[in-house]
Symmetry: C2
């Protein structure tokens, strides 16, 4: 595919569509939108546009499609696999100025929003209704970006990923059509599920211009627990036991001894040098919460926990979770001048012990700095590997490839929540087999000129 | 599209693929597979084949595709919208002989099955593991049929529909490819969500040959409650209040006064002639269950319930639920010589009072026998209208069309759980707008010869 350049005439036409004040070709602006929070090399688009409405998004796509100019949608740039990097230049389509809350449907536990709003900003607004949007990837990611990547985070174990928390979307297609997919009815069996086809498609099939999200009632009774174990194997066995107990934790997170030490030193959290589980429980009554915490303590004691601490104190809980929430940024800060190679594999929970055991073995063999932090309740683990030189990068990539293959062989996936982006495309054939051809055929049907976020997801499409 | 006939040569080739003992052209067999449980007119296929493996399914499709012979997949025939009626003849592809439980992954709360197994048979097997598959449409529907129609039923309000309870499937495509979609990892953000594209596609995009399902732990503490109200408006307000209370009922069902009387007379259930709610609650502790039932009683009392009864006695609960479970069959038996026109609209819960009010108004205007029964917790309502003559049928169809339009205008859907099948295709354009063209484009991409269950879902495709 040969793309056309964004000429001054194209810029003028875009200005007519979105308004002169809503586009920029300034180098500083292009640079700001040339990279996400991942280790992937930046690449600049040729123009940044900030449409104000779904109709404007559709018109920009229609124009780009007619001229064969690539379009890369942009939420707020917090993704972790290079998903919104405009690899082929062209138009960087930012949704940052479409951040209205269109309507709170409080009786339906739903809210309709524009894609540019951050999930933290949304939840701040929803608090007055006693409601919240559950998926929480840590950073203040935009709702549109979360849906496009099917982001998940720490509460997925109880509330599901982004795909489980959306009911309806408006989507602009490559050819400028603006369609509505899904339904505000929580039940719908009316033809193909296009909603979930667009969720997680990373902007390669269409651009989300509006979304109606499922909400949950804010829980009044919340407790947190922290358990440290002698060995990783014990900690991981506790994860399996807690998942099997019916306790339904709202979060069930794992960090290894090295990561625990890092968080303690950086944030003063009371952690020992042991593999550690962070847990959160939500309950309808205070008694039920106390019973849950007691049951968890028992499970952890049975698995020889060396340390267990539970709290229902809100301030203490928040401090504990702050360390977990900010762990990625803390990790980055620990290695000034270095980048962080980040993995994201996920497996069925029964395979988690074997996966973690394998990663530990690789770490030992390769003698590299490698930190483990993961959404253990979902079988999802992130390896973090600081690197500086090209040789170190190559070693990280090689280690990650081995871990990905192991996860895939354990009936798992190369990516639990960060999406394919730039880094995972090469693993898709092994993961999907001929189903990858079906994905490609759908891409070809909906975006025959391959203008939408080209270079992502499909291995042969890497530019 | 002109299809080819199933000649004796074709029958012979099919026999080679699946074995002579696994096909039939006997009229009695064709008749048995010519209709589902709906009011739709029967139509015979030309041959019934019972493949034994996914590979055989794929080979049958490959052959049919090369010869332009339509193929209609068949679960067990309990669907309610004509979904598996072989409208264009051809091959009736029954999955009834593929009913193995391939593996119970107890630690993962998962099971892998062939599509022909009934969900009740599956749950009988799973009981020994303390696990169950939650979606329950009433009849002993096959898992494959439930997934193909995205069936739901009484427990959807808590556990979701079929689409929410499946992780991975093998699917045979029209051209004979056999692909795997989804992942046994509960988290996956690795490309397009083909899993949910095939779920609910009613056999028009592919044939499900294997599925890995999500399971839940069998609940030890279960309670039921029954509440009768003076008016439909009060009952429906109670539904909205219970949904908003955070009580998380496992079932929340509504029947109108006429239907309550019918169930009482047919089954001896202790029901009065009032709009009535059936509810079920699952809890982790007996105290929590008692607290839930007390809270529900309070909500119902606030809305002037004329009768309230709660029980934690298992036998009593089962008797109560038997009447609700068998209500469709009971309704059919009440009108010997008549058929039952059945609706299936669904709306956001806040719109439920207006929808029900509208239906009552239509009933009054038209002076027709019309019974209301629905999964109120999901905003889903079924109207049942007995009819005999063509004129009565036309009147039912007209009334249903008005109700569908009303539901769609209330941000709802023509079908909450029965699927589009034969009867709802004409409503799809209004419901989906241009998104219907996207569905059609995907159909064209995956089944260019339109051999898979032709005549379903798409309005212009009705033969």
């Amino acid at each position: 595919m040969t793309y056309a350049a964004v000429t001054s005439e194209v810029v003028a036409r875009l200005g007519t569509l979105v308004g002169e004040e809503n586009l920029s070709t300034a180098q500083a602006v292009l640079d700001l939108h040339a990279h996400d929070q991942s280790f992937h090399a930046p690449h600049r688009g040729e123009v940044v546009v900030w449409p104000q409405t779904g109709e404007q998004v559709a018109e920009v796509l229609r124009l780009a499609n007619s001229l064969l100019i690539p379009v890369t949608p942009w939420g707020v740039g917090t993704s972790l696999e290079g998903n919104p990097i405009p690899l082929h230049g062209g138009i960087l389509l930012s949704l940052e100025r479409m951040k209205r809350i269109i309507e709170v449907h409080a009786d339906d536990f739903q809210v309709t929003v524009e894609p540019g709003i951050g999930h933290k900003d949304l939840n701040a607004h929803l608090a007055r209704f006693g409601l919240f949007f559950a998926p929480d990837p840590g950073a203040n990611a935009s709702i549109g970006g979360m849906l496009a990547n099917n982001a998940a985070g720490i509460r997925t174990v109880r509330y599901g990923a982004s795909k489980d928390n959306v009911l309806q979307m408006r989507v602009a297609l490559a050819d400028g059509r603006l369609i509505r997919v899904g339904s505000r009815s929580v039940k719908q069996s009316a033809g193909y599920d296009l909603l979930h086809l667009f969720v997680g498609s990373e902007g390669t099939l269409g651009v989300i211009t509006e979304a109606t999200l499922k909400l949950h009632a804010v829980t009044e009774y919340m407790g947190a627990a922290l358990a440290a174990f002698q060995t990783v194997a014990d900690a991981v066995q506790a994860v399996v036991a807690i998942r099997g107990s019916g306790l339904d934790p709202a979060a069930l997170e794992f960090i290894d001894a090295a990561h625990a030490a890092m968080l303690r030193e950086a944030e003063g959290v009371n952690l020992t040098d042991h593999p550690t589980l962070f847990m959160e429980f939500h309950a309808a009554h205070t008694d039920a919460l106390a019973m849950n915490l007691a049951m968890v303590q028992e499970i952890c004691a049975d698995l020889d926990a060396v340390h267990f601490h539970a709290t229902t104190d809100a301030a203490e809980r928040r401090k504990l979770w702050h360390a977990r929430h900010a762990s990625y940024e803390i990790s980055v800060r620990q290695f000034p001048g270095k980048k962080l190679y980040l993995g994201d594999v996920s497996v069925p929970i029964s395979a988690y012990p074997e996966l973690i055991g394998y990663i530990e073995q690789v770490r030992e063999e390769c003698a590299v700095p490698l930190y483990l932090i993961g959404h253990a309740g979902d079988g999802n683990i992130h390896v973090e590997m600081p690197y500086e030189t090209d040789a170190e990068y190559a070693r990280c990539a090689d280690i990650n490839a081995r871990i990905v293959r192991k996860a895939q062989d354990l009936n798992g996936t190369a990516t639990g929540e960060h999406g394919v982006g730039l880094g995972k495309a090469k693993y898709m054939r092994y993961e999907h087999g001929e189903a990858l051809d079906v994905m490609q055929a759908i891409k070809q049907t909906l975006d025959p000129n391959n203008i939408l976020n080209p270079g992502k997801i499909f291995p042969h499409d890497i530019g």
